[in-house]
Amino acid sequence: MTTAAVHHEAAAGGHHELSFVRKYIFSTDHKIIGIQFLFMSLFFLLVGGLLAMMMRWQLGYPGKAVPGGGVLPETMASGGVILPEFYNSLVTMHGTFMVFFAIMPLLVGVYGNYLIPLKIGAPDMAFPRINMASFWIAFGAGIIMLAGFFATGGHAAAGWTSYAPLSARSDLSGVHMGQVLWLVGLIVLGLSSILGSMNYITTVVNLRAPGMTWFRLPLSIWALFITAILVLLAMPVLSGALIMLLFDQTLGTHFFDVSAGGQPLMWQHLFWFFGHPEVYILILPAMGIVSDIIANGSRKPIFGYHSMVFAIGAIAFLGWIVWGHHMFQSGMNPMLGTSFMISTMVIAVPSAIKTFNWMGTLWRGNIHFHTPMLNALAFVSMFVIGGLSGIFMASTPVDIFQHDTYFIVAHIHYVLFGGSLFAIFGAIYFWYPKMFGRMMSERLGKVHFVLTFVFYNLTFFPMHFLGMTGHMRRIYDPTQYEFLRPYQGTNRLITVGAFLLLASQLPFIWNFFWSLRKGAKAPLNPWRDNGLEWTVPSPPPHGNFATTPTVHHGPYEYSSPLTTDDYLPQNQEVRP
């Protein structure tokens, strides 16, 4: 790989003052766009969380009126009691918002945008205006998605996976307009993601600063780069599938209509061909971010940098050939199931490598427990649970029983909340001073961390046990089944945990907004980090670097014998 030099195509933004609108609303600055994504996706994270609370209420106290539920229209709740059709919409939209409008934009939209140019020493993205379009298209998609709640017939109610023919025939789901808005919203969002990843890939390939060779890239950038490739190749497949489903709903086409020879299983194949890479889109950037934070917190180089990079690559590659493990019980040929099982099992290997390498990084470190580090450690310990529980359903016979039960719900939440979301919290605490020039309160941060960690486990760990009883996913009222009735106490416990988990976010929300104005001024390099982003003022000016930095080291030269300090910024030249 050659040493790259920066070409100042963006001409460092021109030095005239921009109007407020151009600077903060229709901005082409990757940092502003990243912050716009941050506010948008935190909003959707909250919306998704509130939807989950309504679901949890119904599951913990089936048939009881939601407190304050009287304000809900009669199409959603009858006298405050959530109706089954609305419950299905809650299930669907909780998943959709969390996956597509919270976790994915938080990782890819926020930190992809914010970190890539800063960490590789570039003035901005390769295509700043496409970058701006990418945000505003995503924003539009979010509006379309929210609009679905006001559609006659209610919002989409076929699950975030929207299996056809339930999603294709409004006579089966009772939903037409909501489903159409859901489909259009996701198609629009897909366009935004494709434009974004095109930008990331071009930027990483072409705009690295001199000396920033491929194997001097921080793992966060590696992960975001490979994620961008996954998004680029997976999203259009989803778009194709969504378009077919949309046409089935609106133009009367027959792609998934059995009576005309259409094939319902084709939807599942297309969806999961996208969907499994999507799972890695949601976790790889988190792994990259956590690697950065753990090395920083341990004051040690990351253990086995090269194998970490190859593990990301291996996970991304294997992600394309395992989609069938979502379909073991779908009626797909059981022989295919066996081959999908083997490829799925193999994914455990790179995941194990990553976990052990993080532990290797901690080993003989000098571990600082700042809030980002605490969240990163939570990521590792919780991701392990999510990863290990995945082995149960990877095993086809065990999956016969576990498929579509709460075991799966526990698994995905250990990966996406215990994994991705803890990494996101860590990232927010870590780069907040860079984004806003002020520190978040460490004390409140730690309170938030401890409460979240405890109640998160109280909420999601018992779901494993529910799964073992055979408790199905996406059911409105478990007490209808005799075999589930004895476990209603567990359901109630989970509900209590979920409410406390939501309440635990209050310190975070307070901390976030309070620190915007009142937080302590951030020093130049508060975490004594090696990244290039800490060599410029916080927040960095338009164009980022006054002079193009030259990179001399890899990203993890902590406690290097070359210096007496315990860190060595990537651009700092050491003469022996």
Binding site: P84, G153, V184, L251, Q480
Partner: protein, 256 residues
Amino acid sequence: MRRMMLAVGTVALCVACGGGGGGDQAGGAEGGDQAAPAAAAALGTASVSGNVLFTGTAPANPAIDMAEEPACRDKHPEGPRDPEVVVTDGKLANVFVYVKSGLPAGQTFPAPSAPAVIDQDGCLYHPRVLGVMVGQPLEIRNSDPVLHNIKAVPTVNRGFNISQPQAGMTTTRTFSDPEVMVPLECNVHGWMNAFLGVVAHPFFAVSGTDGTFTIGGLPAGTYELEAWHEKFGTRTASVTVTDGGTATVEFSFAAN
């Protein structure tokens, strides 16, 4: 290049939105409230009354196995049957009779604000056949402590599919266009069927267990009446009425 990408994006957006515009006409739950309940009084003073006869042996109504739904089964001590054909002494019930044509063209009739009520009790619809005016609220009740869903499968009107998971729940819907008949079904209990006759005027009736029906408040004139039964199809009759008078009509169905 950048502009080109933007253009591609924008057009894709437009196409996507255009493709999503295929929503149905709204037939929401509003309307009907402002209709004067006494409006029918001003229409006329003639009436039609009659009888629905049944000849031959009525087919036996099939038994329903409600074993898996004890809350409903227990409401039928003699064993639940599906009341498809209700014949008493040669008289046929559950026949929907309405004025099919003959009303002055262009005349509109305000819908009453009082709802037509259909109840779900013992996992059966009561009544099984019901007339409702365009714009008149249809109130659906659940008297069973089990989930019912109510799926209307019209061909002209906008369909709906709603649920009532608990006893005591009520839901109100209206229909925007005349349609004879709109079937209602429950997918949790596949045997449950009801039929709604949606008409644009108040001149309709359903035959009782004694086979009789009365349509009142008609203006003088000559009308074509139609009688509809779920198993035996339709019969028509022509009738002329004068102000203040009552005409009688007889419909006859036979076992087929």
